[in-house]
Symmetry: C2
Subunit: 236 residues, 2 copies
């Protein structure tokens, strides 16, 4: 597996306030809480104008325009269960936007993103901070010893030490992430947050997304690893 310690450095605290610096980032980017944990916003894709209003790249105005206007045929088989998922107005399951982009931000008081999966590929790129990503390769055959392959890596700006600035996760993998202190060696365990961009190809739809259900880990990775990773599963 790996020598990366799979233990939280920060504990979620729903009552607490973000630090002023962290709060300034949340406000400057108009971020809102994300159901996976952390904060996010869908970012505008247009550089152009609507009527007389010039629209700047990454300018946030409404949900429809956050999406790549290019539609492509959906590469995914229709899932009957998806009819039960929330859907955007105008969504047609035969098509997908070519891509969608968001900011995603883990902070000391919202420090983890719980295991979830998308049918599309996600390109992640780092703006600031450090964290750990944990992937469960649920789409691969079981390992010889049983259970799915688990992959962990550190994302951060120290590329000379192998920290990743860009990491691409193909569809079908369960993914979780958690915040690390900014200073890898220091004794002060503080963080200005882990701020990244994510571009999903084809574009994000609720019906292509699912959480790892509570209690679902042992069947995927075996009892021992399930206990190690249980804190990264969304509570039912």
């Amino acid at each position: 597996m790996s020598s990366i310690e799979l233990k939280p450095s920060f504990t979620p605290s729903s009552g607490a306030s973000e630090s002023p610096d962290t709060d300034a980032v949340i406000k400057a980017l108009s971020l809102i809480p994300h159901i996976e944990g952390g904060y996010f916003v869908e970012t505008d894709a247009r550089v152009g104008s609507v009527g007389d209003i010039p629209i700047h790249a990454s300018f946030t105005f409404n949900l429809v325009l956050f999406r790549d206007p290019l539609l492509i045929p959906s590469p995914f088989p229709e899932d009957p269960a998806s009819a039960l998922m929330p859907q955007r107005p105008g969504f047609n399951s035969a098509y997908r936007n070519a891509s969608t982009s968001i900011f995603y931000y883990l902070t000391p008081i919202s420090p983890q993103g719980n295991f979830h999966r998308n049918r599309g590929r996600t390109v992640h790129t780092l703006h600031r901070g450090r964290g750990v990503y944990v992937l469960i390769h649920a789409d691969e055959p079981d390992l010889p010893g049983g259970g799915k392959r688990i992959e962990t890596f550190v994302v951060g700006s120290n590329v000379a030490k192998g920290e990743k600035l860009q990491w691409i996760v193909e569809g079908g993998k369960f993914k979780a992430s958690f915040l690390l202190p900014d200073d890898a060696a220091g004794t002060e365990k503080t963080s200005g947050g882990l701020l990244i961009s994510e571009t999903v190809v084809p574009g994000f739809e609720y019906c292509d997304h699912d959480f790892l259900p509570a209690g679902g880990l042992p069947a995927l990775v075996g009892k021992e690893k399930a206990e190690e990773l249980a804190w990264l599963v969304r509570k039912a």
Copy 2:
């Protein structure tokens, strides 16, 4: 237009060496010189394995696997001139990879990317450094006074000052960029380079890309603005 000064802070110098810090980034990410100026590498898209070899996200190994394996129908009309462009082995003009991703790096001795255009959308995200982007909206009607709309903005990590961490450029725009000093206010004009990721949707092909030809600016933006921007046009 804008109050951003369209003058170089750094001058390209083909003979000089990069600083040790800049060189460390180039080596850690296996970057190579880019025809637009700056450095780049196509990054691996796979998280998985090929035979017995585990493949990590962003691990660089060969050109074929750098690309999203998902193919989509090409949304672009066939361009007869594209038969004259260099093509990847196996390229079929009726299809495109759903996306491709690269690192792109401007440095003090390779400090600008000259005007070029792609038919697809490009999602840019910042890792480090500061710079200016200049867009010529060649796909829009002429402005009332004549010439195409020009847009300029600063990319950098100071989001509170409006610097952009993520900027999305739709297809059909001419785009140039140049490096700014890391410290906006300081007297020392130094830079560790502007390092970004770019994800192109649909994926990059030479036949979807062109440079603004030398002498092509006046017809697009008029004589006065053409003189101001001429240093960002690739020499013939």
